[in-house]
């Protein structure tokens, strides 16, 4: 038995039947990190010793029956923009290279309450701005399916670590696709919950009205389990929804008979790679075979949504990142004589090029004279996008699209053309604009063996619907049994 290949629900069973101990599990993961990290480069701050020590303590507590919950001792990896008290939270930026948060994010409190073990902080694009994890200040994470390709982003470290079995599961964050797209590139499951379902308190903000934390897992059942842990109202986050708690694992019925699936045809047009398209078409046939009704329809908002996304996300980011001024924490330049220089030089030296590019765009669209043409208009388009989705969900339970127009691309091939990079977010951003839940699950590989992701979208707070739809498909297709990462390619 290879421990690290097991899903969390499988680990739970083995723990219950005493086939495995917490310490064995943690040790297996630590060993796997040691084995693959030099190739994959997923971690910014690994916590190997800490994890082993914690495993021992938790094992004792379990034996003494001080802890009885079923997730105690299960390891996890955390994207490095989620605040962890006492452990560095860098956002993959020089700006926060040495920053230790004075408090835990609400999701970390929840993880800690379950006595789960943090294996480390995972790489990402700087401040979550990017789609390839190439914009990390520290390192470029590589895709375990082909080390010459990117893992996607911005939660590339999380997705790669899960795919490489360096963590059993991980937390990511998704502002415009940052959970779903890397999950798709790495052949794992990524869920972006409804805006407001998971507390954002302690998630270093990129775009406040779009950000959500969510699970990246090996399978759908694990996604449901981890969502159970992190979902829930938080009085520290004003945008957190005050909803009754749901057990998402109960939604996994392995049955989609009568499910109404809408296929927005605009997401299958120009710009979508033909192999991706083919794979998705096959998935659609599978759903039909499983008893779902599938219908094509027009959701003509993709381009508007993408432009709106970049306007809103960058505007909010330009303001959210104002706090990094070199005074209370973070990078301070050595090169200043007055306050103005302290501000400008700290920010100019501490932020990477992509972050500055987005701050400049965001500042521009909010500045006097342009606000109405861009920001105000974008907020109206946002209303339009919501309305169009509302209309779609009057007819359909689930919308099905590709997660990304392409599979993982080679490292260094896109990072010089920002607009091209932005256009690749076309399939995912409208979900954030409308605040909807979306899940990406693997639905096949291309001719080079690279995973392809399928995105399922539901109406607000209908996570159960897409979890069941994804689960039913997964049970039928059994992607994990047929494919696995090869770690091929090599150090570039």
């Amino acid at each position: 038995m290879n421990i690290t290949e097991l899903t969390v629900h499988e680990l739970q069973e083995k723990l219950k039947s005493k086939e495995l101990t917490i310490e064995q599990i943690t040790k297996a993961y630590v060993e796997n990190i040691e084995k693959h990290e030099k190739d994959v480069q997923a971690f910014i701050t690994p916590l190997k010793e800490n994890a082993l020590k914690q495993a021992q303590e938790i094992q004792e507590k379990i034996e003494n029956k001080e802890i009885t919950n079923s997730l105690a001792g299960i390891p996890i990896g955390i994207k490095d923009n989620i605040c962890t008290k006492g452990v560095k939270t860098t956002c993959a930026s020089k700006m926060l290279e040495n920053f230790v948060a004075p408090y835990n994010a609400t999701v970390m409190e929840k993880i800690n309450n379950e006595s789960m073990i943090n294996l480390g902080k995972l790489n990402m694009d700087e401040f979550a701005m990017g789609a390839s994890t190439e914009y990390s200040y520290f390192k470029k994470t590589r895709n375990p399916w082909n080390l010459n390709t990117v893992p996607g982003g911005s939660s590339g470290g999380s997705a790669a670590a899960v795919a490489a079995n360096m963590v059993p599961w991980a937390l990511g964050s998704d502002t415009g696709g940052s959970i779903r797209q890397p999950a798709s590139f790495c052949g794992v499951v990524g869920l972006k919950p409804t805006y407001g379902l998971v507390s954002r308190y302690g998630l270093v903000a990129f775009a406040s009205s779009l950000d959500q934390i969510g699970p990246i897992t090996k399978d759908v059942q694990d996604a449901a389990i981890l969502l159970n842990v992190i979902a829930g109202h938080d009085e520290k986050d004003s945008t957190s929804a005050n909803k009754e708690k749901v057990d998402y694992t109960k939604a996994l019925k392995n049955d989609v008979k009568g499910l109404k699936i809408g296929i927005p045809k605009e997401y299958f047009g120009e710009g979508i790679n033909s192999e991706v398209k083919q794979s998705l078409e096959k998935a659609i046939e599978t759903y039909k075979a499983l008893g779902a009704t599938v219908e094509e329809f027009s959701l003509n908002i993709a381009d508007y949504a993408l432009a709106t996304y970049y306007i809103i996300a960058c505007a909010e980011a330009s303001s959210n990142l104002g706090r990094f001024d070199g005074i209370r924490y973070g990078y301070r330049t050595e090169n200043y004589t007055d306050l103005k220089e302290l501000f400008r030089n700290s920010r100019s030296e501490g932020f990477g090029a992509e972050v500055k590019r987005r701050i400049i765009l965001g500042t521009y669209v909010l500045s006097s004279g342009y606000y109405d043409a861009y920001y105000k208009k974008a907020q109206q388009v946002r209303t339009l996008v919501k309305k169009e989705f509302d209309k779609a969900f009057e007819k359909y339970d689930v919308l099905l699209t590709p997660t990304s127009p392409t599979v993982a691309f080679e490292i260094g091939t896109r990072s010089n053309n920002p607009l091209e990079m932005y256009l690749a977010d076309i399939c995912t951003v409208s979900v954030n604009i409308a605040g909807l839940p979306g899940i990406s699950i693997p639905c096949g590989v291309d001719s080079k063996g690279m995973p392809i992701g399928m995105q399922l979208i539901a109406n607000k707070f209908e996570e159960e619907t897409i979890l069941n739809a994804a689960y039913t498909y997964e049970q039928k297709v059994k992607f994990r049994e047929n494919y696995e990462p090869t770690f091929k390619g090599g150090a570039c």
Binding site: N81, I82, C83, T89, C91, L96, F99, A101, P102, Y103, A105, R200, Y201, G202, L203, V204, A205, A207, S208, S209, E235, K236, D237, S238, T239, A315, E316, S318, S319, G322, R323, F324, D325, I327, R328, Y329, L339, F343, T363, L366, S367, S368, Y371, Y375, Q379
Partner: protein, 479 residues
Amino acid sequence: MAKEDYEIVIGLEVHAELSTKTKIFCSCPTEFGAAPNTHTCPVCMAMPGALPVLNEKVVEYAVKAGLATNCSITKESKNDRKNYFYPDLPKSYQISQFDKPLCTNGQIDIEEDGTTKTIGITRIHIEEDAGKLNHNEFGSGSLVDLNRAGVPLIEIVSEPDMRSSKDAENYLRKIKSILEYIEVSDCKMQEGSLRADVNVSVRKIGCKEFGTRTEMKNMNSFRSIVRAIDYEAQRQIEVIENGGKIEQETLRWDDVSGKTFSMRDKEDAQDYRYFPEPDLVAIRLSDEYIESIRKNLPELPESRKKRYLEEYKLTEKEAKMLTASKYMSNLFENALKICGNAKAVANWLLSDVSRILNEKEIEPDQIPFTAEQLAKMIMLIEKGTISSAIGKKVLEELFENPKDPEKIIEEKGWIQISDEGAIKEIVMKILENNPQSIIDFKAGKDRALGFLVGQAMKETKGKANPKMLNDMFLEELNK
């Protein structure tokens, strides 16, 4: 042209710190005077990832202020970010309100020399205060203390309806008094919890267009505001008279030199890039909510004044002066409850107490003694334990070292001599030493009696009962 040909136009933006227990967006205490950065948390320190949650009392207090100043309450409101960099602003944006302030379109009346004038209130919005920069006297830099960062403020913006520094003072006093009455701010100007940005422009009388205005920020004393307006108006008139143009700019008033100075260089023209705060949700106020606040609004100065006229038979002037400050007015009512003599309490407050406040240049909220202490002092006079001359001394003492007046007179040995034997002894002694006064009195010079009483008071350091002295001198002189 002369100064008389110009009209001054003034508008005020008043910032009042709300007297909530906690800050506007986090649960840190607002209390003044704590050790640096001890009233802080991840939210008000703008730690990465921290989020604001609006204090319900802030909305309630702002609505109260709006209703007390006859504003319309905005039913669908929101918060916005105002973006600018400054070391006392930890997020590099201030959460404020831009286009949907909680209150709009109000007005209040001010009075001067018996005429009433209405000053329009454009809007009242809620926002957070900034931190404080301390200047390092010995070292090389400045030090940032964020205890005040996130303390709730309302900003009350007036229409440019004031025409003199006196108008501005009356308006600000009225605003202060209203906020004190409705108990939403303690308005302590010396602690900066009430401060005003003053906009001044001038125009030739008869001219309909406003002149270009200048703004003086963060003024926190009535005296400076009056001086600054007078100075700035005069300066503007001189510039115009000399063929110059007024530039729209922010000025700093310097109390020492009595002049205004330009504050920001022009290249840093501000662009605050306001946009809706995405970390907060909309504020929706129901009619029921607004009405319940209206119903529970405390008595405002106008109606209190009316009551004083009717119940206590005070004069219009007395009632107005007493109710101008809630502290003064409360002192009056509370002392009255104890001693029962409205006229006496009013007299003491409006004459000696007000005189001392003026001399000390302090506001009624800084009066150190309690209503009970004042009432006791008045009762001691009524009982004849002390004379009113001693009463004045007791009052001075109450300002310096407030304690029970009985203790004061005991410690100072100020108890009035009302013992007949003791009085007689003094009278006889004074008569013996002033034979000429006896002759003068007998010759019909009544003033001699006053002189003798004065001598006796001097001899007893004011402690002798003046009526008894008077009677006994008369008795002896007429023998």
